[in-house]
């Protein structure tokens, strides 16, 4: 079989065997959930409840602010203890609804549809918006907004991203294996909602079981399943489009501009649940893994479950923890406060022992150019790093700093252990700031 791939990228230790064979376990709802009103790209949701209110499972507690925003819902039933800023996974305090679980799991009324594919595309989009669905692959872009392509763009292909190229994580893999039907239904609903003519599901070759199951069901649904070569970042939106369709998203543009929309398998699953059962996005599958946690597993967890509860459920730390990461090792966020809750875009909690999570002192650059060779958007990271270190922002922009997708390949591969991506991020921030000053 032909395996599709892209130029650049790296081969980190995948470590998927740790949880790859473990079925999804349902994690009981915690006593306390923290629902941040900003779990997505765009404007935070506006709170709909106040201290003392009682809420039901699936009840909307934050209303979409309109435009690029998303609603948020209670993931347990109980009493609102506070609506206040709380620690979040990105290190900032975010206005959050704190709910004490009454253990009743009393559900808000939800209206499903016995055959959701009969819904019109507008109805599907409405349900997706009402369910507060955002991209579950990590970027958490509001799905309904993504389904409204810019004017003049015709969406030919819907790519369903099942590559899960981040090492360690197996949440998407298990979802495809255990909820194959939902993922396929979600894909069809998404395709209908955006008017895509063809659906392609792309899965990395290291998930043979997911490939087999998806292929078995896809055949009868006129959906193509593509095997991707195992390489990080195969699941990057731009890399996926390049590998599968040999098209490129215009620089600073959107995938729709080359006729493609990409949605994660988790998003498809959530869309299926929203359309069939009317269930909002209040739970998701995550992988808890790494050498620093006793019982690595795949869990179906309620959104808003504090990280510390998840680590406790997985048997706690092995010895001294080194690093706790929300997400995978390449793009995940290191945590310092384990009260921060799981949000919609988090696909795993990775605990690395202090042996694995070692820090390095950077050495001088020897211009080996490995960062140039691995950059999947064909930048010269070492050159942008040099510009950033000298505060030469115009030159950094000229060399394409704003095209950086922050995949981390450059920093990963650097034999001198330089923090290339950190410098490029700084350049991006400075350039964006300069543009804001210019326009205002």
């Amino acid at each position: 079989m032909k395996v599709k791939s892209f130029k650049g990228g790296v081969h980190p230790e995948y470590n998927k065997h740790i949880t790859g064979a473990k079925p999804i376990k349902v994690l009981p709802a915690p006593n306390l959930v923290v629902i941040p009103l900003s779990q997505h790209a765009g404007a935070p949701a506006e709170p709909l409840v106040k201290k003392g209110d009682s809420v039901l499972v699936g009840q909307e507690v934050g209303r979409s602010a309109g435009g690029i925003s998303a609603a948020v819902h209670a993931s347990v039933s109980g009493t609102v203890l506070q609506v206040e800023p709380r620690p979040s996974i990105n290190g900032r305090e975010v206005l959050s609804v704190v709910i004490e679980n009454d253990g009743q799991d009393a559900k808000a009324p939800m209206t499903g549809h016995h055959d959701p594919i009969q819904l019109s595309s507008a109805e599907i989009r409405e349900r997706i918006e009402a369910a507060g669905i955002v991209g579950l692959g990590g970027a958490a872009f509001p799905t309904a907004a993504k389904l409204n392509p810019p004017q003049g763009c015709r969406v030919e292909y819907l790519l369903i991203n099942g590559s899960e190229c981040e090492p360690y994580l197996t949440a998407d893999q298990k979802l495809m294996e255990e909820y194959t039907e939902d993922v396929i239904l979600g894909a069809k609903l998404l395709a209908k909602a955006c008017g895509a003519e063809k659906i392609i599901i792309a899965i990395e070759a290291n998930k043979p079981e997911a490939l087999r199951k998806m292929r078995a069901l896809a055949g009868s649904n006129a959906i193509e399943v593509v095997t991707l070569g195992v390489k990080y970042p195969a699941g990057g939106e731009k890399q996926l489009i390049k590998a599968v369709l040999d098209r490129e998203v215009p620089s600073h543009g959107l995938p729709a501009q080359c006729g493609v929309l990409v949605h994660n398998v988790g998003t498809a699953w959530a869309v299926a649940k929203a359309c069939r059962y009317g269930q909002p996005l209040i739970e998701r599958v995550i992988t808890v893994t790494g050498d620093g946690v006793k019982e690595p597993a795949n869990y179906l967890v309620r959104i808003g479950t504090p990280i510390k509860d998840i680590i406790a459920a997985a048997g706690g730390f092995v010895g001294e923890p080194g690093k706790v990461i929300a997400g995978g090792p390449m793009m995940g966020l290191a945590q310092f406060n384990l009260d921060a809750p799981i949000v919609k875009g988090v696909s795993g909690i990775l605990v690395l022992s202090d042996k694995v999570a070692k820090e390095f002192d950077p050495m001088p650059c020897i211009k080996c150019a490995r960062c140039v060779d691995v950059c999947p958007v064909y930048l010269m990271p070492v050159t942008i790093e040099k510009f950033a270190m000298n505060a030469m922002w115009d030159e950094a922009e000229d060399y394409g700093a704003m095209d950086c997708i922050e995949c981390g390949c450059c920093t990963y591969i650097c034999p001198s252990k330089r923090g290339l991506l950190t410098w490029i991020r700084l350049a991006k921030t400075e350039i964006a700031e300069a543009h804001r000053r210019q326009t205002s």
Binding site: G259, K323, G332, M363, I366, G400, D403, E406
Partner: protein
């Protein structure tokens, strides 16, 4: 509940196992077959010159850094490699003190004055060699026959004669490490296999030299196997610090080296042009990088 035990740092949180030190030691390891061949052909002179060159390079670096009160970084292995490369590029009969002087120049003038590892524009070993050639021209062009101490003036490139087999195995007069194509290729394969060698530079270099040799009616295989071309194309031109970082740039660099080499060999007053071909192209490296920027993903594509 902030947990002060937790390490906080930006992504990515995992790193490739390769390090700069490992790369340097890989180059040193790839030079071992070359050194072994040199020792087989030229005996103790090979041990003497290479050992003293390496020791002088490492000591010069440590001394210079100590004098400047900078951290001493000789453990990164780069000075060791420079010393080894310089030692292997010397004629077997060269006095030891000249090798030591060459190493000192290579490290101090070729590398440290520019800021040390990664900051030097020119290949340090070749800087050392160029200074030696200019300062001690007759000693640097005095050759001995392998297995003997007999002095000869005729290297294969300077009026001598040799069969392809002699050139391939290395039983010809020449600098210590340059004579055996077999040993050099062995080292090159190791470098390539370990991902330390970008094929574009040696292929561009050797390819250009071969094509131009054919164009000007020279014996192509003889030209490729004689002199220090093969040694230089695999071990010197590929020095990461002083060669371009873009894929296209590496082709340009290799082809440029080949052009200058042939120019000097066929029309220059020197029999060999390797040192200057690479040093001149080193000077162009920043410009080549600027002119061969890769097309960025998504730039110049039409919207559907």
């Amino acid at each position: 509940m902030e947990d002060s035990r937790l390490i906080l740092s930006p992504s990515p949180h995992v790193r490739d196992e390769d390090t700069t030190q490992k790369i340097m030691l890989t180059v040193a390891a790839a030079l071992v077959p070359v050194w072994a061949a040199a020792t087989y052909f030229f005996g103790l002179d090979s041990i003497r010159l290479v050992l003293f060159s390496m020791a002088a390079a490492v000591c010069s670096e440590a001394l210079f850094q100590a004098v400047r009160r900078k951290p001493i970084t000789v453990w990164d292995g780069s000075a060791l490699v420079t010393g080894m490369l310089l030692g292997l590029s010397l004629p077997p009969s060269l006095p030891t003190w000249m090798a030591v002087f060459g190493s000192f120049i290579a490290i101090v003038i070729g590398k440290q004055v520019f800021g040390g590892l990664g900051a030097n524009p020119f290949n340090p070993a070749l800087v050392g060699r160029a200074v030696l050639v200019a300062s001690f021209t007759s000693q640097m062009t005095t050759w001995t026959m392998p297995f003997t101490d007999a002095v000869t003036s005729a290297t294969p490139l300077a009026g001598g004669q040799a069969s392809y087999a002699e050139l391939f195995f290395g039983t010809v007069p020449g600098s210590l490490g340059e004579t055996s194509a077999l040993a050099i290729l062995l080292g090159g394969v190791l470098l390539f296999y370990r991902g330390v060698l970008d094929y574009r530079i040696p292929v561009g270099f050797l390819g250009t030299a071969a094509v131009l040799s054919a164009v000007f009616g020279q014996d192509v295989i003889y030209q490729l196997l004689s002199g220090s071309l093969l040694f230089g194309a695999i071990f010197m031109a590929t020095d990461m610090v002083t060669s371009p970082i873009t894929p296209v740039g590496r082709w340009v660099f290799g082809v440029g080296c080949g052009l200058i080499l042939v120019l000097i060999r066929f029309w220059g007053s020197l029999p060999e042009g390797l040192t200057y071909s690479i040093l001149l192209m080193n000077a162009f490296t920043p410009l080549i990088n600027r002119w061969t920027r890769p097309r960025i993903y998504g730039q110049g594509v039409k919207q559907a």
